[in-house]
């Protein structure tokens, strides 16, 4: 409960900043001429308040505003508390539209028939009245915002209504569809082979581009690639260093193009920092790729066999996708940790991500405790929206997992098929050699050649299946786990809120009793305790 001491002048500063930016935008909306522009600004304003795609953050934002304007206490949740907090930044829609490029498929269709999956973004209709009503409910239970603000909030309510229609609220959980498109020259596995699925930044720009430009003032274009895995060091202390190259025109970065060397634990460290900062306010932080002790040990030992090359390639592409997802989230992009990760040449070693370490064990214990807690918390789900969403996610999770396993078997079998085709090709060639009827011999050799080509095609198809389909599915399965984690967070904070409320009740009762018994000094003490307890309640409600 540090915010109490947390200077009220800090709060004042942020309040005025917030108010001024709000006013400026309202002014823009009104004064800015045509309806289109007005709508735009309204939407961008709504965005500011809508922030991330996670629904209840609206609520938190709303309550935060209420808080800020109301009793002047500022929740200490916002990391950059000194300046106008995060919610002035553009919200993330995540409703990007990506399509697999048709040119690639046309070129491949003649040869290999890769199954190109084209998917579409989702626009589910969020329940727009919901946030507004929650909002109202919270306001009524708060300590009474100044009456002047209510009209502002009503406006915001309407803005919400409008904004929610424009913005797809829950898109990150849905399939933000990446167009992973292998570059036409897919080479079969060699230690240096790179299948590079790339998100086409052009595609992303197409949607919501104008809105983002309005909000940020520069074009949202950032292109990250992870490449050149190289082994550094020897023996068990060896690790793979990946080159992270960023090309961007965003103003927050110092240069247009820069690259740094990172290792896997750096990525994990970044993820844990982001998770600790953002998870409990309800952002969905993209999950990092998993540690794999077996795979890494093989690489460390230095075996140059194709399976370790594949492992490195898998990891490289997973890291690339992870970074791309992270920077797509505008709030995360603005985070100094992310920027430091992308820019600075030296990064403090994230030791706590090591598998066998004190921190790792602590993490495991925490996870177990969380699991137990989850079972004991019986949340009174007052929000049907959440219930429905949770159910949907459960289903989606199941389906995706099933699909993922089926696709994995397919990839495995196809690889087997390609191996068998290669063996048969050799055998047919030998048969053709030993055949003494020359025409038949020729025919058999040609059959052998054709089978070899077929083998190559099968290999390519297997790779395409894997990188386009299977990895995507596994990414989404992990994302859904992250989503579930956020749901759980919500439950936890609700629980805390309940507890805090209960404590507040008790203190109030104690105070009443003391008052009755006319013990003035004890009364004072009780009053202090109450004052301590009540902000606790409000914090928890905010978190929720």
């Amino acid at each position: 409960m540090t915010y109490e001491r947390g200077s009220s002048c800090d709060a004042c500063a942020s309040v005025t900043a917030a108010l001024s930016s709000l006013a400026w935008l309202m002014l823009q909306a009104v004064a800015g001429g045509g309806r289109f522009r007005c709508l735009h600004s309204v939407v961008s304003l709504g965005w500011l308040l809508v922030a991330s795609g996670v629904p209840w953050s609206i609520v938190t934002r709303a309550t935060a505003v209420a808080r800020v304007l109301g009793d002047g206490s500022l929740p200490a949740l916002y990391p950059a508390a000194a300046t106008a907090p995060d919610w002035t930044q553009a919200g993330w829609t995540g409703g990007g539209r990506f399509t697999a490029r048709s040119a690639h498929t046309a070129s491949n269709a003649a040869s290999g028939d890769p199954v190109v999956v084209e998917r579409r973004p989702l626009r589910s209709s969020p329940s727009s009245p919901e946030p507004a009503s929650l909002h109202a409910e919270d306001i009524s239970t708060s300590n009474g915002p100044k009456p002047a603000e209510i009209s502002l909030e009503d406006d915001r309510e309407d803005l919400f209504a409008e904004a929610t229609e424009e913005v797809s609220l829950d898109s990150p959980e849905r399939e933000p569809i990446l167009s992973d498109e292998p570059s036409p020259a897919i080479t079969p596995v060699t230690p240096t082979a790179l299948v590079t699925p790339r998100i086409d930044p052009v595609m992303f720009e197409r949607c919501k581009e104008e809105l983002e430009e309005e909000a940020n003032g520069d074009s949202f274009d950032i292109d990250i690639s992870v490449s050149d895995p190289e082994k550094v060091g020897e023996g068990m202390n060896a690790y793979m260093a990946y080159k992270v190259t960023t090309k961007t025109s965003l103003s927050i970065f110092n240069k247009k193009e820069f690259s740094v060397k990172r290792r896997f634990s750096d990525f994990l460290g970044l993820h844990s920092k982001l998770a600790s900062k953002y998870m409990h306010i309800g952002y969905i932080v993209p999950p990092a790729p998993e540690k794999s002790i077996v795979g890494m040990t093989k690489v460390k030992v230095g075996k140059e066999d194709p399976s370790s090359a594949e492992f490195v390639e898998k990891r490289r592409s997973a890291l690339e996708r992870y970074l791309e997802r992270t920077v797509k989230h505008p709030t995360l992009l603005q985070d100094p940790d992310v920027q430091q990760f992308l820019e600075s040449s030296e990064l403090p070693r994230a030791v706590s991500t090591q598998a066998l370490s004190g921190a790792g064990i602590l993490r495991m214990v925490n996870k177990a405790a969380d699991a137990v807690n989850k079972m004991t918390i019986k949340m009174n789900e007052s929000d049907a929206w959440f219930e429905e969403k949770q159910q949907q996610f459960e289903n989606l999770d199941q389906q995706l997992r099933k699909l993922h396993t089926s696709v994995e078997t397919l990839v495995c079998h196809r690889k087997e098929l390609s191996v068998n085709t290669a063996a048969f090709a050799k055998s047919a060639a030998m048969l053709g050699n030993s055949e003494d009827h020359t025409a038949l011999s020729r025919a058999l050799s040609q059959l052998a050649e054709v089978e070899e080509k077929i083998d190559q095609l099968h290999q390519e198809q297997a790779y395409a299946d894997f990188y386009l389909f299977s990895e995507l599915l596994s990414d989404y399965v992990r994302l859904i786990t992250a989503v579930k984690g956020v749901f759980d967070q919500r439950m936890k904070t609700w629980q805390k809120w309940q507890d805090a409320q209960a404590m507040l009740q008790k203190k109030l009762e104690a105070e009443a009793k003391l008052q009755y018994a006319n013990k003035p000094d004890k009364l004072q003490q009780a009053k202090d305790e109450i004052r301590e307890a009540s902000p606790g309640v409000s914090v928890c409600k905010d978190e929720k």
Binding site: S102, F424, A439
Partner: protein, 405 residues
């Protein structure tokens, strides 16, 4: 036969391919008109149409089991008169074990499968079972037809009995002793073969046979290898095709559960996978029929040819021995007449064998080339057809998915 001619340009001369076209002579036509699969055995109905005087009726049928085919084959093998002929290889035992196991596993199986998935997999397995069944019928039929076609082999008394005798031939399957005996015999035979072929005294006078021997030995091993690899290839192809089933159904579920823009794409994709599966399945089974079966048959046939060569070599060895005995007898001047007769017999035998073997081997080559030609042409044509079909499917799906966008 012009070797240098392109294989796929028309060839003159009577092609005698694996699937026998009955050439000119319709005096004895044999086919398996029906087959019934009971739990452990398969009963074949052998139908004969003939105008040979020897048979009682011009048209008749009998029911035979696999063991009776094997018996017939063995009688041919044991008959000395046929030593100079390539005996058509015996049909393989009908083996439904694998697919029966799979059906069983499916039945017990997995609660995780939706009803449609289950139905589809069951359909696939049943189709597989049926395919194996058809294949085994075909193998038996080919065996009989080759026997009927061969001018010498068709006159065998046992063959007539096989075709005509109404009742059960009461041929019991080999009991353990006989199987073991057969096993031993094989070992002896291969040892003998090795001895004969490496015997320094035995000079192969005939270039033709020399060449044939080296060729056949090499060919046989290579065909065996190819046949194995082709089998594996077909099996993994089938696995891939079968994998499409759960993917298709999972996509279907995803599509129907969600009501959003993407669900239509999911359903389209599910349909695509379903259709692709059928095409892939057909590709796999065509590969199986045309390629694997061909290779397997010629593996067995080349083994039979090798056996012929062995018999010839054996008789040559006998002939040489007889010569030696004769020389010895002449030297000792004892039993000369006997030795001379024996030598004469051996010589005649050897000559006869050589002649017929020569003819047989030439026929074998012709047959083999024709069979390969036919099957390879059919295989490539079918694969082209299927590839075009799947290309069309994929293109259509792509277009329709794009239209949704």
């Amino acid at each position: 036969m012009d070797d240098s001619q392109d294989l796929f340009v028309g060839e003159d001369g009577r092609p005698r391919s694996v699937t026998v076209d009955l050439y000119n002579d319709s005096s004895l036509q044999v086919e398996i008109s029906d087959a019934v699969s009971e739990r452990d055995k398969v009963k074949f109905t052998v139908h004969t149409k003939t105008n040979l005087a020897h048979f009682k009726k011009p048209e008749f049928s009998v029911v035979r089991q696999h063991e009776e085919f094997i018996w017939l084959h063995d009688t041919y093998l044991e008959n000395e008169d046929y030593a100079g002929i390539i005996i058509p290889p015996a049909p393989p035992r009908p083996d439904f074990e694998a697919s029966r196991e799979k059906l069983q596993k499916l039945g017990e199986g997995d609660g995780s499968m939706t009803r449609e998935e289950f139905a589809k997999m069951k359909q696939e397995l049943e189709a597989e079972y049926l395919a194996i069944f058809k294949k085994t019928v075909a193998m038996h039929e080919v065996f009989l037809q080759r026997l009927a076609m061969h001018p010498i082999l068709r006159r065998d008394h046992n063959f007539y009995v096989f075709l005509e005798y109404d009742q059960d031939l009461s041929v019991r399957g080999k009991n353990k002793k006989e199987i073991f005996g057969g096993f031993l015999k094989n070992i002896v035979k291969s040892a003998d073969e090795a001895l004969i072929t490496s015997m320094s005294g035995l000079k192969e006078v005939d270039d033709f046979f020399d060449h044939e021997r080296t060729f056949l030995l090499e060919y046989h091993t290579r065909v065996k290898d190819s046949s194995l690899k082709a089998d594996r290839l077909t099996r993994s192809h089938k696995n891939v095709a079968e994998d499409y089933i759960p993917i298709s159904s999972a996509l279907n579920v995803l599509g129907t559960q969600e009501s959003s823009a993407i669900s239509r794409s999911f359903i389209k994709l599910a349909e695509l996978f379903e259709k692709l599966r059928k095409v892939e399945g057909r590709v796999a089974s065509d590969e199986d029929l045309k390629l694997s079966d061909l290779l397997r048959y010629y593996m067995r046939d080349s083994q039979a040819a090798k056996d012929l060569l062995y018999r010839r070599a054996r008789s040559l060895a006998d002939y040489e021995n007889a010569n030696k005995v004769l020389d010895k007898a002449r030297m000792k001047n004892k039993d000369v007449k006997q030795a001379e007769n024996h030598q004469l017999v051996c010589c005649q035998r050897f000559e006869k064998l050589s002649d017929s073997a020569k003819q047989e081997l030439i026929d074998f080559k012709v047959r083999r080339v024709a069979a390969f030609r036919k099957n390879l042409i059919e295989l490539t044509e079918l694969e082209l057809k299927h590839a075009k079909a799947s290309l069309l499917l994929l293109r259509n799906c792509l277009v329709s998915l794009k239209m949704d966008h």
